[in-house]
Amino acid sequence: MKRRSASITNNIYPIATLLAILVLWECLSLFEVVPNYMLPSPAQTVEAFINDFGLLMSHLKVTLLETVLGTLMGVAIGYAAAVLMDRWDPAYKAMYPLIVLTQTIPAVAIAPLLVLWFGYKMMPKIILIILITFFPIVIGVLDGFRSADKDAINLMRSMGASRWQIFRHIKFFNALPNFFSGLRITVAYAVVGAVLAEWLGGFAGLGVYMTRVKKSFAYDKMFAVIFLISIISLILIWLVSVLQKKCMPWERADEVSDRKKRGQ
C-alpha cells in the first residue's frame, strides 16, 4: 500500500507539469499569440484525432505491422548473432568491432537508400527497423552471456553439464534483463524508424499520412498523428514491461524479511 501511494505522489509531478503545458498551449492559441494555422490548440488536435480516427487507424495498422515484423526479425537476428559470437570466439573478434562501427551510420542516412533499392512497399521499412533493432539486442544480450558468473558455470561443469545446458540454465537467464532493456529501447525506436521510412515513400502508414496532411497544411491533423505515434510507443514500451514481469517472476519475489533472518 505504502509503495502504491508513493508512486502516485511521484506521478503527480509530471502529470501536473503536462497539464500546465497544455493549459499554456491552449491559451497561446485562444488569445492568438501564435496564429492558429501554425499551432492548433490541444482541443483542435483532439477534434482532428476524433474526426480522422478511422483513417488514422487504417494507417496505424500498416505502421504497426511493419514495426512488429521488423522488431521480431531484428530481435531474432540480433539474438542469434549474440549466441554465435558467444559460442565461437573468431565470430566475436570478426563481427563485434564492425557491429559497433555500423552504429556510426545514422538510420536517417540509409533510409533513402533502402527506399531506392527496395521500393515503396513494406520491405525497406522492415529492413530499416531490423537494422535499428539489431544493435541494442546483440550488444545487450552478448554482454549478458559474457557476464554470467564463472563459478556458477564451473559448478555446472563439475556436474557434467554440456555447453547447451550451461547456456540454457545460466547464460540465457543472465542475459534476460539485458534483453528486455534492449527491447524496451528498441520498440520505441522501431516505431519512429517505420514512420521515417514511410515519409520517404510508401502507399500507407502513419508516415505517409503525415506527409499528406503536411502538404495540405492540416497542422491539427499533424499534431493528432504525432500524438498517436507517441501513444503507440508508450503502449509498446508498457507491453515490453508487462512481458518482462511475466517472464521474470523472481524479480517480484520479496526479499527475506528481517524476522525470518533472525529466526533461522
Binding site: 564451473n154 559448478l155 563439475s158 519475489a253 527475506v256 533461522q264
Partner: protein, 252 residues
C-alpha cells in the same frame, strides 16, 4: 579399497606449481577435512578431484576406478551457495538431476523427498533471495547431495555465515550427515570447524601446497555435542596450531 583416493597429484599453472604430490584417501561414510591457510592450493586440488582440471600428474580414483579429468562423478559445493536467483528452490536443488537427463517432474519429485530431512520444508516454491544465508547453504548442500551420493567436496561451505548461524549449522550438519551417510571432503581454514566436524584432518601447507600432516579425531561424530569446550578438543587444537606454526617458522 578407499571410496575416493588421489595418488600423487601435481598441478601447475604456467611455471608455478600450485600443489605437489598430494595423496589423500577417504573411506565410505567418512568426513575428511582439508585444513590450511589461504593459497595452499586446496581449491585447486578440489578442481582436480571434481574433474574441472586435469592434473599434470597423478590420478583420482573413485571406488578404484580412474576418473582423472572426468566431470559429473563427484559433487562439488562452493563457498558461495551459487543458487540460481531465477529458479525456485526446488528447481535449484533438482538441477543436477535435470542435467543428468531427468525430466523436470521426475527431478522435482525426487528432490522433494529430501526437503524435510534438510530442514527446508515449505521453501520449494520460494526464490533464493527469500531465504536466509543458513537456509541457502542447506539448499546448496541438498543440491550437492542430489548431484551424487558418492562423494561430496565442500569448499569452505560455511565460511560466509556469521558465527551464531555457523554454530547452528554445524550441529545441523553433523545430524544430517549422520542420517544420509554421505562421504565428504571439506575445505576450511577454521581450526575449530575442522576438529568439530571431521573424522580426519589433512593439514595442507606451503607453496606449492603439500600434505603436511594428518590428524585423526578419536571422539566419534555422534558424541560431538559441546565438544568444542572439552580438553580433548583443546589438545587437538594445540597440536594443529603447533603443526601450522612449525610451518610458519620454516618459511620465515
Amino acid at each position: 579399497m578407499h571410496k575416493l583416493e588421489t595418488q600423487n597429484i601435481t598441478m601447475s599453472f604456467g611455471n608455478e606449481t600450485i600443489i605437489r604430490d598430494i595423496s589423500i584417501s577417504v573411506d565410505q561414510g567418512e568426513l575428511v577435512c582439508l585444513l590450511g591457510v589461504s593459497g595452499s592450493g586446496k581449491t585447486t586440488l578440489f578442481n582436480c578431484i571434481s574433474g574441472i582440471y586435469t592434473p599434470d600428474s597423478g590420478r583420482v580414483l573413485l571406488d578404484g576406478e580412474d576418473i582423472t579429468g572426468t566431470t559429473g562423478r563427484i559433487s562439488y559445493m562452493l563457498q558461495k551457495d551459487l543458487l540460481l536467483p531465477y529458479k525456485t528452490i526446488e528447481d535449484n536443488v533438482a538441477l543436477p538431476l535435470i542435467i543428468r537427463g531427468a525430466s523436470r517432474d521426475e527431478a522435482r519429485a525426487r528432490a522433494s523427498e529430501y526437503f524435510e530431512e534438510f530442514g527446508l520444508e515449505g521453501t520449494q516454491t520460494m526464490y533464493p533471495k527469500q531465504l536466509s544465508g543458513g537456509m541457502r547453504q542447506r539448499a546448496a548442500l541438498l543440491r550437492t547431495y542430489l548431484f551424487s551420493d558418492n562423494v561430496a567436496l565442500l569448499d569452505e561451505p560455511f565460511s560466509a555465515l556469521d558465527t551464531i548461524t555457523k554454530g547452528r549449522i554445524h550441529r545441523w550438519y553433523l545430524d544430517v550427515m549422520e542420517k544420509i551417510n554421505l562421504t565428504t571432503v571439506f575445505i576450511t581454514h577454521d581450526i575449530n570447524e575442522a576438529i568439530l566436524l571431521s573424522d580426519r584432518i589433512y593439514i595442507m601447507t606451503g607453496r606449492p601446497g603439500e600434505i603436511k600432516s594428518e590428524v585423526r579425531i578419536k571422539t566419534p561424530r555422534s558424541d560431538r555435542h559441546g565438544y568444542d569446550l572439552t580438553d580433548e578438543f583443546m589438545d587437538y587444537k594445540r597440536q594443529i596450531m603447533g603443526i601450522l606454526g612449525e610451518e610458519k617458522r620454516e618459511t620465515e
